[in-house]
């Protein structure tokens, strides 16, 4: 497989640049909100939390609450979910060798939505280990849905990708229709359900960050380890097999990892669209299709994109909040079209 990588330096710069951009965007998102807090105060509050830094608090305790208990978990969760959806999208696109694949292709989103709606309609409320019943059922719904799709699509020991996509689309449509039915019969709870489905970070808190973080970190690390295999699998699956890749095993591991992080991400904040399909494409158009760079760059870009989108969602019409799915679509689609125009001759796969 004669792959040459003439752009090592450019890629190193890209990773460095995105890391700096990520830091800048995160800091900026911390200082902007529906309540005006001076930039320096924000920095001082944040710094005062670090060990070995001694700053006498000159700010109000409400300022501290806003920054540390409302904005910080929100920015971190947005970054985590953005990173998770972007790398999951890149993985699915690579696995299916299909530019239209996104993290929701094989039933994750519809399964999560069904679980969440059932959670909304339960007559009781339950909390355990910092997780409410809605995210828990959304998570279970997503995993069960993908498990059904997987078992439907399996033929003997192999997993034909086309069958997997078709089963995912069909089952997703079935879940979708049940969700629609439940929504129209949900009465007073309709409002909350629709807001969940459109996605929001408005109620992010530390306990959610603590639950999502391990899934995303473990999932991302696993996917990154298989970046090389994913490159080889862009050839025919048969050829990849001949080149020593255990194709079926790799497929299964990557599917499981991508599904798990997607499910963890959407179960708290709702099914946010566009991030998972647009970010990897944008990265691919700018820095090329090598998965060893595509994947980490997608992680960073996804985090940056969703932190910015959430910033717009909470400030544009403050104190009213715009569902973040609206922002990701409005910002994402034109940006993507621009990239497509600029690199017209670029080949996707």
């Amino acid at each position: 497989m004669p792959i040459h990588f003439p752009h090592w330096r450019r890629r190193a710069y890209a990773i460095l640049g995105l890391l700096i951009a990520f830091g800048g965007v995160a800091a900026f998102a911390m200082t902007v909100g529906s309540v005006q807090i001076p930039f320096l105060t924000t920095c001082r509050v944040l710094l005062s939390q670090l060990p070995l830094v001694d700053i006498t608090p000159t700010w109000l305790s409400t300022t501290e609450t806003i920054i540390l208990e409302i904005r910080l978990p929100r920015v971190i969760l947005a970054g985590l979910v953005g990173a998770a959806l972007a790398i999951a999208g890149a993985t699915y696109q690579g696995l299916f060798r299909n530019p239209l694949a996104d993290p929701y292709l094989i039933g994750v989103a519809q399964g999560a939505a069904l679980g969440a709606v059932v959670g909304f309609l339960l007559p009781f409320d339950w909390h355990g280990m910092g997780v409410g019943v809605i995210p828990l059922l959304a998570f279970i719904g997503a995993l069960v849905s993908v498990a059904i799709v997987y078992s439907l699509a399996r033929v003997g020991k192999t997993l034909p990708m086309t069958t997997l996509i078709l089963a995912g689309v069909a089952l997703g449509a079935l879940w979708g229709s049940i969700v629609s039915y439940l929504i129209i019969t949900s009465g007073e709870k309709m409002h909350g359900i629709i807001f969940w489905l459109m996605g929001s970070f408005s109620l992010s808190e530390w306990s959610e960050v603590k639950v999502v973080l391990p899934y995303v970190v473990v999932g991302v690390v696993i996917i990154l380890l298989y970046a090389r295999s994913l490159n080889v699998m862009q050839l025919d699956e048969e050829q990849a097999q001949q080149l020593g890749i255990a194709v079926e095993k790799v497929k299964l591991i990557l599917l499981a990892a991508a599904t798990l992080i997607t499910a963890a991400a959407v179960s708290f904040v709702g099914t946010i669209g566009f991030v998972g399909i647009i970010t990897p494409h944008a990265v691919r158009l700018i820095w090329g299709p090598d998965h060893r760079f595509l994947l980490p760059l997608s992680v960073l870009s996804g985090a940056i994109f969703l932190i910015l989108a959430d910033l717009v969602a909470r400030t544009a019409l403050a104190p009213t909040e715009i569902p973040i799915g609206v922002i990701t679509a409005i910002c994402g689609a034109p940006f993507f079209l621009y990239l497509l125009r600029r690199k017209k001759r670029a080949v996707f796969f």
């Binding site: 409410g132 408005s202 909470r314 909040e321």
Partner: protein, 307 residues
């Protein structure tokens, strides 16, 4: 960190208590009141900075003369007029937590829809939250009394409740023992596209009953979509259109007026189609008695028509 915040708060509070002359409000000791979600809420003093998370809560606070203590309301709080000028803290179900915290309220008046997600967050930030969840007319009166109790306006509240009770009694005295045959069939329309109507277990259903009518949708549950066919079959004698929802126009009323297929029902033949401000019956607040009186007048003009 929360402990530190609490510590600062306690120190400030004790300083304040030490400096201030022993005013009546400071003397009143800790109060524990159960709210309508069954939560026991502890209050250390009479609240001075109140945030309302619903339009009906705002109406109750204003009716009890607490206008100058309300520091934050929702974007939908448009009654009374003065409520519009108060700082906004977001929508009804979409509360902007930053704004709430920044206004440093000592009481947040919430409702049942905030129970699952908003109230736990507000509590975690050390705020005192009191929730109302009035499902029936009786519980609306109870909620007003509760707000009076926790805001130190107990007297005003019992006065308001007594006044509302006597207005309700004027209506129910004439309708309580009314036989079914004398109760006109009423269709209350809350939205026209899709056609929505309040069914069983709604305040509207209760009010229609109290006003001496029979709700044609009493077998549906909650606020439900109803087919035009079902409405025509039930042949309502009175149609009441809740107007002012969304854009604030009388779309529902115009719908009934212009729909040719509704021409055959008794209400349209006898010109018994009325409009009512959707907020009167829709908001469980002090104006609920206005809703009852208007409904009674629409359904039984012979008994309640004012000259």
């Amino acid at each position: 960190m929360r402990l530190v915040t609490l510590g600062i708060f306690v120190v400030l509070l004790s300083l304040f208590a030490a400096c201030a002359p022993p005013a009546e409000e400071v003397v009143s000791s800790t109060m524990e009141v159960a709210d309508q979600l069954g939560r026991v809420v502890k209050l250390d003093k009479i609240p001075e900075r109140i945030i309302s998370l619903s339009p009906s809560n705002t109406e109750i606070l204003f009716a009890l003369g607490l206008a100058d203590k309300v520091v934050g309301v929702t974007e939908y709080c448009d009654y009374p007029e003065a409520a519009k000028t108060i700082d906004k803290i977001g929508g009804f179900s979409t509360v902007d937590l930053e704004r709430v915290v920044a206004l440093s309220p000592d009481l947040v008046l919430a409702t049942e829809i905030h129970e699952a997600r908003i109230i736990p967050k507000l509590k975690a930030m050390g705020l005192t939250v009191f929730a109302l969840d009035p499902k029936t007319l009786g519980e609306v009166l109870e909620s007003i009394a509760l707000v009076g109790e926790v805001t130190g306006k107990g007297e005003e509240a019992s006065q308001l409740v007594a006044e509302m009770r006597s207005r309700i009694k004027v209506v129910t005295d004439k309708t309580d023992n009314m036989p079914e045959a004398q109760r006109p069939r009423v269709f209350y329309i809350t939205w026209h596209d899709p056609l929505m109507t309040p069914g069983a277990e709604t305040r509207h259903n209760e009010l229609i009953r109290m006003a001496g009518g029979t709700n044609i949708a009493r077998d549906l549950s909650g606020y439900a979509a109803i087919s035009l066919e079902a409405v025509i079959e039930a042949n309502p004698q009175v149609i009441i259109a809740g107007v002012g929802m969304g854009s604030g126009e009388d779309l529902t009323f115009r719908y009934v007026e212009t729909k040719p297929r509704l021409k055959s029902v008794d209400a349209c033949i006898n010109h018994k189609v009325y409009k009512i401000d959707v907020d009167l019956a829709g908001r469980p607040g002090p104006r609920i008695t206005d809703a009852l009186e208007q409904l009674a007048e629409f359904i039984h003009p012979e008994l309640f028509k004012k000259d």
